[in-house]
């Protein structure tokens, strides 16, 4: 696994934890353990995104370091095989 693969995998893993926690909390808003899980998942996700975009380019349109050129449309597209991590 390349360094990019590892960083992307971390974003996907943490992002999924956030998605799951959000759906659960939508129907269990008073579950304090789930809220703690959500808080940690969001923290991990933000750190994973930070780690990815520092080395491998923006994940959303507000993360482009435009002084270095227009990188938003550079690189592979998410639906391409080369862009994806081997599980």
């Amino acid at each position: 696994m390349t360094e990019r693969d590892k960083a992307l995998m971390r974003v996907q893993t943490c992002g999924f934890a956030v998605t799951e926690a959000v759906l659960f909390l939508d129907t269990h808003p008073t579950d304090s353990a789930a809220r703690e899980y959500y808080d940690k998942a969001v923290k991990d996700y933000n750190a994973a995104v930070m780690n990815y975009i520092t080395s491998f380019g923006p994940l959303d349109m507000t993360q482009v370091q435009s002084s270095g050129g227009w990188s938003w449309t550079e690189g592979c597209m998410p639906w391409e095989e080369d862009c994806n991590v081997e599980i």
Binding site: G15, D26, T27, I87
Partner: protein, 199 residues
């Protein structure tokens, strides 16, 4: 408002093209129980959902369905990459090829174009959530059938993820339906449509 995140929800990495698999999996893009229908069903229904928690759930699940539509399209896109015309013809994909080459177009496995008639937005919370429960099961069955037809592990790994999400969404919609029912007249859930009659 939506913001695009430049990644798939779950990886799709298919090393070998397979037009026969693409021909059936495209149904989860534009077919009757596909991800396009799922996303538009929930994102349409939310406007008449009078309870914020359930409108929020419809938004969140509808949004995840958009990510699933992208995954299904990625699967079909990778399965049809670098195919020869001969392979396309042998897999019975010539009818699709003549109209779309190997571009993505929302249709069912049988070639029926995507249609909003495959889902409802009825403006009644009980009715809509009951439809949503059925929709998740119909999509789960479709993924089960795909798993019976396709054995390439690169493909089935992503399909199994999508199948699992149908089960989680079914669970959440069941909880949402209960939360709506608890707010209605306990003697008769169906006495009023809380989106219309409680003005």
């Amino acid at each position: 408002m939506w913001k695009y995140e430049k990644r798939l929800e779950y990886p799709v990495k298919i090393k070998k093209p397979d037009s026969a698999a693409a021909k059936v999996i495209i149904t989860q893009f534009g077919g009757p129980d596909g991800e396009l229908a799922a996303s538009q069903r929930y994102l349409s229904q939310r406007y008449s959902m009078p309870y914020g928690d359930v409108a929020g759930l419809l938004t969140d699940i509808g949004t995840e369905e958009l990510a699933h539509m992208e995954m299904v399209c990625a699967i079909v896109c990778q399965l049809t990459k670098d195919l020869t015309v001969d392979q396309i013809e042998k897999a019975g994909l010539a009818d699709y090829f003549v109209d779309h080459t190997v571009g993505l177009w929302p249709q069912s496995a049988g070639g029926v174009p995507f249609s909003a008639t495959v889902f409802q937005s009825k403006g009644d919370p009980i009715t809509d959530l009951t439809e949503d429960l059925a929709a998740e099961q119909k999509a789960r069955t479709t993924y089960d059938n795909i798993l019976r037809l396709v054995d390439n592990p690169d493909v089935t790994d992503a399909i199994k993820f999508l199948r699992e999400r149908e089960i989680v969404h079914f669970q959440r919609f069941g909880e949402a339906l209960r939360r709506v029912q608890e707010r209605l007249d306990s003697k008769n859930f169906y006495a009023v449509n809380p989106a219309f009659d409680n003005k």
